[in-house]
Amino acid sequence: MGSYLRPTALGQALEALGEGPRTIVAGGTDHYPARVGRQIDEDVLDISALRELRGIADTRKQVRIGALTTWSDLVRAPLPAWFDGLKQAAREVGGLQVQNAGTLCGNVCNASPAADGVPSLLALDARVELSARDRVRELPLSEFITGNRRTQRGHDELVTALILPKPGKGARSTFLKLGARKYMVISIVMVAGVLVPGRGGKIADLRVAVGACSEVAQRLSALEADLTGRPMAAALAKPEHLAPLGPIDDIRGTAAYRRDAALTLVRRALARLMIAP
């Protein structure tokens, strides 16, 4: 018979995970849809009462997003411009019901190729904090997600936070999502970008990530390398910059379409980033 735990302290939660694997539930917005018409009888660890894991904290060098931080929490938090892209993604996740319950960490842990939070987090060089009863480790997000619904999380580990190093001064960000309807839609392609403007209208730092065009969202490092140090006015993406992507045909669109639309969205994202707010 499945047991249901809802501890109020992190220590208890990690202790429980140490004793054996459990299905972790945070906002439940991926958990329940995956179990339609099925009896839910697995051992569950509901982490929603771990108050200490909710909220966004600013330390000097980085920003820490607690595991229970919801999309709505993020949207409502007063945050600098480099969060604009992530906030934009948050506003386009599901409907408000999903934003009110769903967490960023859940989105990352669920590791869907179309997870809307992931491109922005990749572009922000996010790291994932994993805690077990006897250890804490941090992994770059790009290493944490290893494939379609696969991550590096050990059975005894809980993701306790996402950690975002602060980008350079004046950083700004953007996010563009392409879906076949207005609300509540799984992305066909999404693009996130972070730009740090340099002196004299030059690009000091640029990071661009594309989602839903490969098993795991990808950074476009060649594009980033080509454009860094160049004048913002000359920021042009070329088809070969999309080489890291490996889109597939599915019900939402063909591979060829995804590649084509990704280029358009990357160009549009760049254009947005280059305009000073």
Binding site: M1, G2, S3, Y4, R6, V25, G27, G28, T29, H31, Y32, P33, V36, G37, Q39, I40, D41, V44, D46, S48, S72, G94, G95, L96, Q97, V98, N100, A101, L178, A180, R181, K182, Y183, M184, V185, I186, I188, I251, G253, T254, A256, Y257, D260, A261, T264, L265
Partner: protein, 919 residues
């Protein structure tokens, strides 16, 4: 296996509750099953529909995704918490005034989402309202009236006044069954079963074509003591087959040794709810031997295709045919000839309420309470499956959370009846969303080729049409589609020479049945594109071209039927023309400067025969007065959200000469109402409405006769007496003194109407319908040519409805029809096994619906009640053609494959650029 229960304490609608529940179960289940609050609806259990939206600590969440354990110590508000002392709150009143609830299944979710917004922002703007409602799907209303209602809450409004006697027809009367939909009291298919009902769960085919063997069941029974009965084909006492046509009962209730589509019912598990839910699919002993399946029309018609049904080796279920004049001569006389080929996919009804109901055995009778569009058809179908007389079956329609044609075929009815019949216990069942989508009927995928010709002056001379319709594994309404399409294929135009044919093709895919329009929306894609193409070649404006060729009173249709009256097409076209000219010009000017986002404007017209094609489809209505002066309309016309309850009362009240407010009703119960036919084919307002008028008039005549009063006399029905004033004379009928006739009534009037039609001859000539609806819609779209995305910005819809019995409801039908037409055009395609949920199968959300201006044209139909005819299906038909026409103006591309998804449109744009074409 269920988890042990735990006590969870929380505040529910302001009161403290303590419930012993499985903390890992869904809050929606706890609210509905453990706490008995059925106002929170379940449409998907996956967060996709939002019907289950509740407030958790004041914020909207989907109750189907909240673990019950998470509400401990928190505040939960459901729709039941909105009414203070039973009175509607300001938001609910606004919904009521605006007609924002049609079927009402999405309404609790909409109200909760809107409440969340209004708590934070008392005067939201339109954008904020849309953002707040973005997570709740509505399939009926097209969202316009919901948004208006939320925007209108802040404004204090006088409550609507009921119209006086004789003024109900034409009044914007609020729905007579509206309040229950706003308070959560209205009981839908899954809200009606008694607590002790057993649960029925269906095991379904995972393959599109396969043989199977059911193994020994002892193990299953032994491992699951709560499992009381496994039903298989062998348990069916009567005919193990159902189908719309009396002579085609080709779909088994439970498959015998083979299945013909993925999702077909194979066996049913009946027992204690928890035990039935806990049985893992893998433990059900069915051994499958999959076979090569026939997918799509092309493979079905291939010479070596396996037969889907053994007695139909060519996979052709039926053919339709129509010949008028000499089509070759017609083409020879044409100066311009245009042609094209079109293709559409399966479209899912996506009513937010899945199939559900319960059955119980009462002596040697069986009673099924169920969400349905056709109680009498359900009755007869269930009877022949059980092998009992139709009179032994009682069907009681619950509220219907959307139908659109999909609840005309039986679903749970025979299964529930069988289970209750055999176990003697009440049995319930509600399909899951994936089950509903996999098993239920769909819109027929179509493959159409058509050709039309006109003279240099733009007079149409000939029209040739062929449509293949994928009817899936079983007949369902396939023959209806094959019959209806040739009749309508020319569109609402006068064409002297026509040759049309259609084929309903069997495949190993879901049965395609009735879906708002029976194939006509698919055919309209062809005729409207051809009109645009001919207009272009002839150098005539597309609207002028249509006006020139429009059907009008005195002209003959393709079946040779001479239309006598109520042909308002030209009027509709003239009403949209001013918008057309403004919008077209504006688009041309804008496109000259905009490179990426191009605008276009298109027009679509339609006609649609109200009622069944060339067969009798009578309706009988009865109205009674009881000894204590209660007036009841015994209304067999099921209200599926379209508002039949309200419209029938408006009509009957006026015919009787009493205020609509005093007329009560009983809907659809086959023991208490006469057969009014099914709620489909846009027939209820026209056919049953006429019967309601005749019933009211009959009762009035009886009252006047009893009092010797003249035809102008005024009737007042009081508590125990009827007062009749005839000029200065005053008569009274003492109701208590009259003998009871039936069901407490001492007076009864009744009326029957069957629209005059004739059989079609071998050339498809005859009078298939008593009347037709007509419409013209125009759409303005914006196409992002780099992404292939289409946004419909605004539409104008002019519909000739004969007479709008209730303009609010006519507008609501048009909004909802446009939303479905938009889905058909741009996003909806059901792929068996791949889009069996509401996140992979997309229907429009509140943000996808354009501004819509409705223009009601009233060209009265002499046969109809007060001149009225149907609007249900007409609303949807012109929308997709208008959108396609608009895409053409924007891009120069005639898209012929639906839906026009971003990838298809972008691919077409790229191919077009490569060809060097520029429109």
């Amino acid at each position: 296996m269920k988890r042990e229960s735990r006590t969870v304490e929380f505040a529910l609608n302001g009161a403290a509750v303590s419930a012993a529940v499985d903390p890992g179960s869904r809050l929606s289940e706890v609210l509905r099953e453990d706490l008995g609050l059925k106002g929170t609806k379940v449409g998907c259990e996956a967060g996709d529909c939002g019907a289950c939206t509740v407030l958790l600590d004041g914020e909207q969440v989907c109750a189907c995704m909240v673990p019950a354990g998470q509400v401990a110590g928190r505040d939960v508000t459901t729709v039941e918490g909105l009414t203070a002392k039973g009175a509607l709150n300001a938001l609910q009143q606004a919904f009521h005034r605006h007609g924002a609830a049609q079927c009402g299944i999405c309404t609790p979710g909409m109200l909760m989402a809107a409440s969340d917004l209004l708590r934070r922002n008392a005067k939201p703007n339109r954008r904020a309202v849309m953002d707040a409602l973005g997570g709740v799907l509505c399939r009926c209303t097209g969202y316009r009236k919901i948004v208006e209602a939320v925007l209108d809450v802040a404004k204090a409004q006088a409550p609507p006044v009921d119209p006086p006697a004789g003024a109900a027809v034409g009044a914007r009367l609020a729905k007579v069954d509206g309040e229950g939909k706003l308070t959560g009291v209205e009981a839908f298919g899954d809200d009606v079963a008694p607590r002790d009902a057993l649960l029925l769960r269906v095991a379904r085919a995972p393959h599109a074509r396969a043989r199977f063997v059911i193994g020994a069941l002892d193990r299953l029974y032994a491992d699951h003591p709560g499992l009381l009965r496994v039903l298989t084909a062998d348990d069916v006492p009567g005919n193990n087959g159902f189908g719309i046509y009396p002579h085609i009962k080709d779909q088994p209730v439970l498959a015998e040794d083979r299945v013909r589509y993925r999702g077909e019912a194979v066996l049913a598990l009946v027992g204690e709810a928890a035990a039935i839910r806990a049985i893992p699919e893998e433990e059900i002993p069915i051994v499958w031997r999959p076979q090569e399946a026939v997918a799509g029309i092309e493979s079905a018609l291939a010479p070596d295709a396996p037969a889907v049904q053994e007695d139909k080796p060519d996979n052709v279920l039926t053919r339709g045919r129509l010949v008028k004049g000499d089509v070759d001569a017609g083409f020879a006389a044409a100066d311009h000839v245009v042609e094209g080929a079109w293709q559409t996919g399966f479209v899912e009804h996506a009513y937010i309420e899945p199939e559900a109901g319960f059955a119980r055995r009462v002596g040697d009778r069986i009673e099924v309470t169920v969400t349905t569009q056709a109680p009498y058809m359900d009755r007869d179908e269930t009877a022949q499956v059980l092998g009992i007389a139709p009179e032994q079956v009682r069907i009681v329609p619950s509220a219907c959370g959307g139908g659109f044609g999909g609840k005309l075929d039986v679903s749970v009815q025979p299964l529930l009846a069988l289970a209750a019949w055999l176990t003697g216990r009440p049995v319930r069942c509600a399909y899951t969303r994936p089950e509903s989508m996999a098993s239920s009927t769909k819109r027929h995928p179509a493959r159409i080729t058509a050709r039309a010709g006109c003279t240099g002056e733009g007079e149409i001379t000939a029209f040739r049409f062929h449509g293949d319709f994928n009817t899936g594994a079983y007949a369902s309404w396939g023959p209806t589609v094959a019959d209806r399409v040739p009749v309508h294929c020319t569109g609402p135009y006068f064409v002297p020479n026509v040759a049309a044919s259609s084929t309903a093709v069997l495949t190993n895919e879901p049965p395609a049945g009735a879906f708002r329009g029976f194939g006509v929306p698919q055919a309209a894609l062809a005729h409207e594109a051809l009109m645009d193409m001919m207009a272009e070649q002839a150098g005539i404006d597309p609207i002028e071209f249509r006006i020139k060729n429009a059907l009008a009173a005195g002209l003959e249709t393709a079946t040779g039927q001479r239309l006598e009256a109520s042909v308002g097409l030209v009027d509709c076209l003239e009403k949209v023309q001013p918008y057309w000219e403004d919008w077209r010009t504006a688009a041309v000017m804008r496109n000259a400067v905009k490179k990426t986002v191009k605008r276009g404007v298109g027009v679509g017209c339609m006609w649609y025969g109200c009622g069944n094609t060339s067969i009798s489809n009578p309706s009988t209505m009865t109205v009674g007065v009881s000894r204590d002066g209660r007036v009841t309309l015994y209304n067999g016309a099921v209200d599926i959200g379209q508002g039949a309850n309200t419209v029938m009362i408006q009509i009957c009240a006026d015919a009787l000469g009493v205020p609509a407010g005093i007329v009560g009703y009983i809907m659809g119960d086959t023991d208490r109402t006469a057969d009014a036919g099914k709620s489909s084919a846009s027939r209820q307002t026209f056919v049953s409405g006429k019967a309601a008028e005749l019933a009211g008039a009959d009762l009035r005549a009886q009252i006047l006769r009893l009092t010797n009063a003249g035809p102008k006399a005024i009737i007042e029905i009081g508590k125990r007496r009827i007062t009749v004033r005839d000029g200065a004379d005053r008569h009274e009928i003492d109701l208590a003194a009259l003998p009871e006739l039936e069901a407490g009534d001492v007076l009864r009037g009744s009326g029957t109407f069957d629209p005059p039609t004739t059989k079609l001859d071998e050339n498809g000539q005859g009078v298939p319908y008593g009347t037709y609806g007509f419409a013209a819609q125009i759409a303005e779209v914006e196409v992002d040519v780099d992404l292939g995305t289409v946004k419909v910005r605004r539409m104008v819809a002019a519909h000739d409805v004969g007479r709008a019995i209730n303009p609010v409801q006519v507008e609501g039908q048009i909004h909802g029809g446009i939303a479905q037409g938009l889905g058909l055009a741009l996003m909806e395609e059901y792929l068996p096994g791949r889009t069996e949920n509401l996140h992979d199968y997309l229907i429009p959300t509140v943000g996808d619906i354009p501004e819509i201006e409705v223009i009601i044209v009233e060209d009265p139909e002499p046969l109809g009640p007060y001149g009225a005819k149907g609007i249900g299906e007409p609303a949807l038909i012109p929308t997709a053609p208008a959108i396609l026409g608009a895409i053409y103006q924007a891009t120069g591309l005639r898209m012929t494959r639906l839906p026009v998804t971003p990838d298809r449109l972008r691919a077409a744009i790229l191919a077009h650029e490569k060809d060097g074409g520029n429109g």
